[in-house]
């Protein structure tokens, strides 16, 4: 069980290194309003 515990934590660490940050942010309403206000100005 100790080995499985170490392995599962190691998998998470590797995932943080390879996980991309992606996707649109404008679906968040407050961000959308800020963006629109900036564009209007």
């Amino acid at each position: 069980m100790e080995l499985a515990a170490f392995a599962s934590f190691a998998v998470l660490v590797v995932a943080w290194l390879i996980a991309p940050t992606k996707g649109e942010v404008v679906h968040i309403e407050s961000v959308k309003k800020t963006t629109e206000a900036a564009q209007a100005a």
Binding site: M1, E2, A4, A5, S8, F9, L12, A15, W16, A19, P20, T21, K22, G23, H27, I28, E29, S30
Partner: protein
């Protein structure tokens, strides 16, 4: 009185206070997740339950849950309004602390359990319906199931079910009831058509942090003595919460492309839920695996629930229902008498039978909670009405139900 331990009593009373804090903390956890027009109503659900069940418990709840057994199903009325529950210890439940101390510790569990359900019907339930539901649910669901699992003579206890701090009694019952409530009440107006976003994520993270803090009383306090078992429960509780938070954040990052703060908070709560039944029976390696499972299974469960278009508004079934079931089964997998000689070995230590016993407890609590919650909701709907009218839902529950507003700016 010579058997009373000052250390045990001090720890149990402090733990009761820690668990008490969890209910208002839950109010903040849920309050941050709703829209600003419903935040007071959401916090009120938790705060009101703290008051309501505190009185219900001393009048009849404790007697039904822990009173002298009737057929393994329910406690008697012998301890109505705490008759016979005094400063002397009860050797069946807590031989080294005053019976009143054990009673008030258990009261805080009875308080938070119906409060967990409120996340499923947030932003649309009538306050009157909520009050009646809470009182009936505590009496006809929580109190009997608590007796089955923890009461002297309770049938699941006699069967050999392991539930150290309430995975079955607290989380499965509330999680399943939340799913039933979400289905019976129906979806919030505008869901899927307009943005429904958490109005204050910082409030939610603060609530989750306070829940985590209070959970040390929930689990380590359940040792009922200030010794090694309490220390083990404390350590595995913290470990599982941390591991589940890391896992949830990672899975959601890979799935949606960003490490979610709210996801980390929800993951921590899922880990706390899952370790609850196991905390007095497993070691720290098992806690890591239980946390890993909680972060994964609960996240996936919520995605499935959303895909099925069930409006469990604040994901109560995903976190408490699935987390509770995983925790109960994981106890049957990872339990070891090396941690608790009064417990049993689980599957990985050569006792597969324990996993079967845990599965029976899960099945019984799921079925009973689902059926009883459905019946209670239908009765209330017929006499009081469950949902607020549509115009009041649009206005928000703070104004329509409480005539107050949370923010003036």
């Amino acid at each position: 009185m010579e058997n009373i331990s000052a250390g045990d009593t001090a720890w149990l009373l402090a733990s009761a206070a820690l668990v008490m804090l969890m209910t208002p903390a839950l109010g903040f956890f849920y309050g941050g997740l709703v829209r600003r027009k419903n935040v007071l109503a959401t916090i009120m659900h938790s705060f009101f339950i703290l008051c309501l069940i505190s009185v219900q418990w001393v009048l009849w709840g404790y007697s039904l849950a822990f009173g002298p057994d009737h057929g393994g199903l329910i406690g008697g009325l012998d301890w109505l309004s705490l008759r016979g529950v005094g400063q002397a210890p009860n050797p069946d439940y807590a031989p080294t602390v005053p019976h009143l101390g054990f009673m008030v510790f258990q009261m805080m569990f009875a308080v938070i359990t119906p409060a967990l359900i409120t996340g499923a019907f947030a932003e649309r339930k009538r306050f009157k319906a909520f009050v009646v539901f809470t009182l009936l649910w505590a009496t006809f669901v929580y109190d009997p199931v608590a007796h089955w699992v923890w009461g002297t003579g309770g049938w699941l206890r006699m069967l050999g079910t392991l539930d150290f701090a309430g995975g079955t009694v607290v989380h499965i019952t509330s999680g399943v009831s939340a799913l039933v409530a979400a289905l019976v009440l129906g979806r919030r107006k505008g869901l899927g058509l307009e943005p429904i976003e958490p109005h204050d994520a910082t409030m939610t993270v603060l609530g989750a942090s306070l829940l985590w803090f209070g959970w040390f009383g929930f689990n380590a306090g359940s040792a009922i003595n200030a010794g090694g078992l309490a220390a083990n429960a404390f350590v595995v509780t913290n470990t599982a919460a941390a591991m589940a938070a890391l896992t949830w954040m990672t899975v959601s990052w890979l799935h949606k492309g960003a490490p979610s703060v709210l996801g980390a908070a929800a993951g921590a709560v899922a880990g706390l839920v899952a370790i609850t039944p196991a905390s007095g029976f497993v070691d720290v390696s098992a806690a890591i695996l239980i946390g890993l499972g909680a972060g994964t299974f609960c996240y996936v469960g919520i995605q499935v629930t959303k895909r099925l278009k069930v409006d469990d508004a604040l994901d109560v079934f995903g976190v408490h229902g699935i987390g509770g079931m995983w925790g109960a089964l994981a106890t049957g997998i990872f339990a070891t008498v090396a941690v608790n000689s009064a417990g049993k070995d689980g599957l990985v230590f050569g006792n597969p039978e324990q996993l079967g016993i845990q599965a029976i407890a899960v099945l019984a609590s799921v079925t009973y909670s689902a059926v009883m919650t459905f019946v209670i909701l239908k009765i209330i709907d017929a006499f009081v009405g469950l949902r607020v009218p549509e115009n009041e839902e649009v206005l928000g529950l703070d104004a329509s139900q409480h005539r107050e507003a949370a923010y003036t700016i």
